[in-house]
């Protein structure tokens, strides 16, 4: 099983990388981009086929190390 977890800064946390990215794509002519946010994608390969167990372990890992809850949110995009 492979899991994909998207980690992003919370909406109220300044995203300097996103701000600069928006400025630079506008510089290339993509002026219709009003905002950019930059996050991280974590992929985890699990042994076994216990999907619910894997989701529980992912949540536990997010709480312990993958995510800093004071500035980040996460979303489990897929476990398959």
């Amino acid at each position: 099983m492979r899991a994909k977890i998207l980690i992003r800064l919370k909406e109220d946390v300044p995203d300097s990388a996103g701000r600069v990215l928006q400025e630079r794509v506008a510089h290339l002519g993509f002026t219709d981009v009003l905002e950019a946010r930059v996050g991280k994608l974590v992929e985890l390969e699990f042994e076994g086929s216990d999907r619910d167990g894997a989701i529980n372990r992912i949540k536990n890992m997010c709480k312990q190390v993958l995510v800093n809850a004071s500035i980040e949110d996460y979303e489990i995009l897929s476990v398959e």
């Binding site: 300044p14 300097s16 701000r19 190390v65 993958l66 004071s70 500035i71």
Partner: protein, 246 residues
């Protein structure tokens, strides 16, 4: 002799700077590194968590340091009231360990900042600032990409109300009026103190400001403060023979 433990996380480059500052410049201090998987700190009087990109800043600066066994010993030392200073990446690690509130995010400029910074003492309620006069301006290097302090409004309010802002960025005159500040840190925060006052984190590097030949000696006042008994504040600014811990 006063003992200072310096946990050395994988990839972190700043441990030797801290050991050198205490052992060779300040003197009369036993400063020693502690391995990342050590379960004990070796009965130190204080702990300094150095800067320098533990685990290559992978995932988040300081984020993977909390997987090391020594982090448990650091948390216990903090719970027992021991004085802890985290510098640069050490500050980020202390936030990740929940020993300090908030987090450090990318500088507003999105640039790696490697330059001299001016900071002003905002609170001396901590072992590492207790002998520094409030409003005193210090100059020392900063070297970081994730250097801007962020906290939610409630946490920020509590830090201000409780007088737990240790240092603020300023100009050479001590002014902190710039809304973006030095690097985008909220309220120009360069360092904070924990709820119980024994843990401090700061982004500027006092251990790299201990010799005139390296650009200045203002860091000595911070590093020496923890060594000096409360009854002898006048010698806080001197690096020549700090007193032993009581």
């Amino acid at each position: 002799m006063y003992r200072i433990a310096v946990p050395k996380f994988p990839g972190a480059s700043g441990a030797e700077d801290v050991v050198y500052a205490y052992s060779s410049v300040i003197g009369d201090v036993e400063a020693y590194t502690v391995a990342p998987e050590a379960e004990r700190l070796g009965k130190p009087d204080a702990v300094i968590i150095p800067g320098g990109y533990s685990f290559g800043d992978y995932l988040r600066p300081g984020g993977l340091a909390k997987t090391c066994r020594v982090s448990g010993a650091i948390k216990k030392f903090a719970r027992d009231g021991g004085p802890i200073l985290g510098v640069g990446n050490g500050f980020q690690i202390l936030c990740e360990l929940d020993l300090l509130p908030g987090a450090l995010i990318i500088n507003y400029s999105t640039s790696f900042m490697n330059e001299q910074a001016y900071i002003k003492v905002a609170s001396n309620l901590c072992p590492f600032t207790k002998h520094l006069a409030e409003e005193k301006v210090l100059r020392m290097p900063i070297s970081c990409y994730y250097g801007a302090f962020f906290a939610d409004p409630r946490t920020l309010r509590e830090l201000e109300q409780d007088d737990h802002i240790a240092f603020r960025y300023c100009n050479h005159l001590g002014d902190t009026d710039d809304p973006i500040g030095f690097n985008g840190s909220l309220n120009s925060i360069a360092g904070i103190i924990s709820r119980h006052g024994n843990v401090m984190g700061m982004m500027p590097h006092p251990e790299r400001a201990v010799e005139a030949v390296r650009g200045g000696t203002d860091g000595l006042a911070v590093l020496s403060s923890v060594l000096i008994p409360d009854s002898n504040p006048e010698s806080a600014q001197s690096a020549d023979g700090p007193s032993e811990s009581t």
